[in-house]
Amino acid sequence: MSTTTTPNLKAHEVPIPELDVLKSWLLDMLRIREFEVRAMQAYQNKLAGGFLHVYNGQEAVAVGCIAAMRHTDPVITAYRDHGHALARGLDPKIGFAELFGRIDGCAKGKGGSMHFFDRDNHMFGGHGIVGAQCPLGTGLAFATKYNDEVINGGKSDSVTACFLGDGALNQGSVHEAMNLAAIFDLPIIFCVENNRYAMGTAIDRCTASGDQITNRAVAFDMEARTIRGMDVIEVYREMTEIVEWVRSESRPYFLDIDTYRFKGHSMSDPRKYRTHEEEVEFEANDPIDKLSRYLTSSKLMAEEDIKAMSKSVRSEIREAVAWAKQSPVPDVSELHHDVYADVWGPFTGTSLPRYMLEKRSGEGGDADGA
């Protein structure tokens, strides 16, 4: 979903997109929410295992940020990754198949909830180790710039969005990544999804200068700002300004996005560390309601239209779950597949996941290439 804008437009000058685009955002956010609701259900029914971290409440962040980017601009994130993958275009049924550990999953059931990769949609994971995606993200930005400038002799033209949590700010690798991005002038945005908690640890209990985390960017000579993350239009407009600035300047940016996770950290979280009142207060700020209200109050959509959209998303997701349930579990031969790119010993080489192969054969040729 790419939108062209004039470079270096200020956020408040970025036009609010047309109705079709706004509708697609609403659809994306509803889809993410419903995906997570069904994922939690599946987890309770033991269809999904491992750790499950849901994105409820933060939808406007992934949808707004990604809407401001080109489809070919790389995206990378941590383990709370379903929202980013879906916003990037991953088919929900492929996501559920991954959650259920099935062969049709984006990683053939070998990655799980925390490791959603989707190369065709320029989604580079899904990373389980807190902060570890940030050096990788700088590598993506390094590579786009190297490809553009060193190999192709042109000018750097891509922007990488590297999402991380507020808790990740205290991880050494994140600081290393920010320093590298600054000294190498890498076109990367560190998008901090500041949901105020790292598991049960509130930001002020673990992060020095936690009330103003943009202070950290100063140390790395990096531009920074704090934005509100519950309004997708606002996220999009701010991000648009930043993306285009990063694209034209080839400099890193630190973006503190104020948001809230409505559910527990993962499925085993009793949420004793925060009050019910606090949760209620933030739930009143639901990003989906916010966009819905905007659309209805400005008479762009009627309540009934939104209800109908919600309903169709529910059935789409229901079908996706049903589809994923009938996907086979991986054959045991998969155990030794994708360990090495080549064949040796017990290892049988590698191949793309089924949904990508099907797409390629459907296109009648090998459209491979990251």
Binding site: C106, G111, C134, L136, T138, L140, A143, E176, D338, V339
Partner: protein
């Protein structure tokens, strides 16, 4: 007759990198002091002048950061060579090199391979003490998804490193600071050595010595000594640890009926113990004694010169092990 030349181990490494960089613009070198300083051990001397700062990249002292940056860059098709000034310092990048590089292909269900080379000095240098004398081979060889090479001479260093740069998997190349200045014949003509093939350094009939990297030289010293006693050792230089050329070991042991493994890392859960286990399994009926192992002593590396030398899996220890294994003690 191809022209033979003698060049240093470090030059052989440099030639491997430079040749691959000339033929493939996706290849670049980064690490601490690799550019303007010409490499802490002068391996990359002159490369900045040839390839410029966009491809020979000085990094901050930030192993986790730049190792991860290299890995990330592979996801968009680049083929980085990441130099660790010492593999000892790679420990602070352990998460990136053990978790991400070797597993991203699997975790992504085949979507992203990781063609990257990590290389640098491994093992005791000269009195560097315990933090700087790591032998990481056993530690890292434990991880599926990566390959590991440990060349012992300039010819192998060049041929193996070229293969490593062309490999579609992460390859860990472990060099020894003690070997960087040794010279050896390296032809002018281009060649590569496939990863995963051992070579016989010295033929013999009485006992198989399995070594790799620096320990090959300890084996050679021991073999000279033992020859005087009438024990002819066959020395196998493994060159690659993952894949390990078990067939070569088995063939030799079937001939000699005795086997001593010489591994410069610690003995517990090591390459030495792995080789011993595999040889016991494959050669149960061929062995006339159990496989003997010679390792670094099970201690942190000491600073004091004589203590450090004693710690190594040196010739005297190998001789003792061979005599014991062959009932000549």
């Amino acid at each position: 007759m191809p022209m033979a030349r003698e060049i240093e181990f470090r030059e052989a490494l440099r030639e491997a990198m430079s040749e691959e960089m000339r033929s493939d613009p996706r290849v670049f070198l980064m690490g601490e002091e690799v550019a303007q300083y010409h490499g802490a051990y002068k391996v990359s001397k002159g490369m900045l002048e040839e390839f410029g700062p966009r491809r020979i990249i000085d990094t901050p002292i930030s192993e986790s950061g730049f190792a991860g940056m290299g890995i990330g860059a592979t996801m968009l098709g680049l083929r980085p060579i990441v130099e660790f000034m010492s593999w000892s310092f790679s420990l602070v990048a352990a998460d990136q090199i053990m978790n991400n590089a070797p597993k991203i292909l699997y975790m992504s269900g085949g979507q992203f391979g990781c063609p990257i080379v990590f290389r640098g000095n491994d093992g005791a240098g000269g009195q560097l003490g315990s933090t700087h004398s790591w032998c990481v081979e056993s530690l890292y060889a434990n991880v599926p998804g990566l390959k590991m090479i440990i060349p012992s001479d300039p010819y192998d260093a060049k041929g193996l490193l070229k293969s490593a740069i062309r490999d579609e998997n992460p390859v860990f190349c472990l060099e020894s600071e003690r070997l960087l200045s040794i010279k050896g014949d390296v032809p002018e003509e281009e060649y590569v050595i496939p990863i995963g093939e051992a070579v016989i350094r010295r033929p013999g009939t009485d006992c198989t010595l399995v070594g790799f990297g620096r320990t090959v030289y300890f084996c050679e010293q021991a073999a000279e000594e033992l020859a005087k006693e009438g024990i002819e050792c066959e020395i196998l230089d493994m060159r690659s640890i993952r894949p390990l050329d078990l067939d070569a070991i088995v063939t030799s042991v079937r001939k000699t009926n005795y086997c001593v493994v010489v591994d410069q890392s610690w003995s517990f859960a090591s390459i030495g113990s792995e080789v011993a286990a595999e040889v016991h399994k494959a050669c149960f009926d061929d062995l006339d004694n159990h496989v003997h192992r010679v390792h670094n002593d099970d201690v942190p590396a000491p600073y004091s010169h004589d203590l450090e030398q004693e710690m190594l899996p040196h010739a005297r220890k190998i001789c003792e092990a061979v005599r014991s294994a062959t009932y000549n003690a």
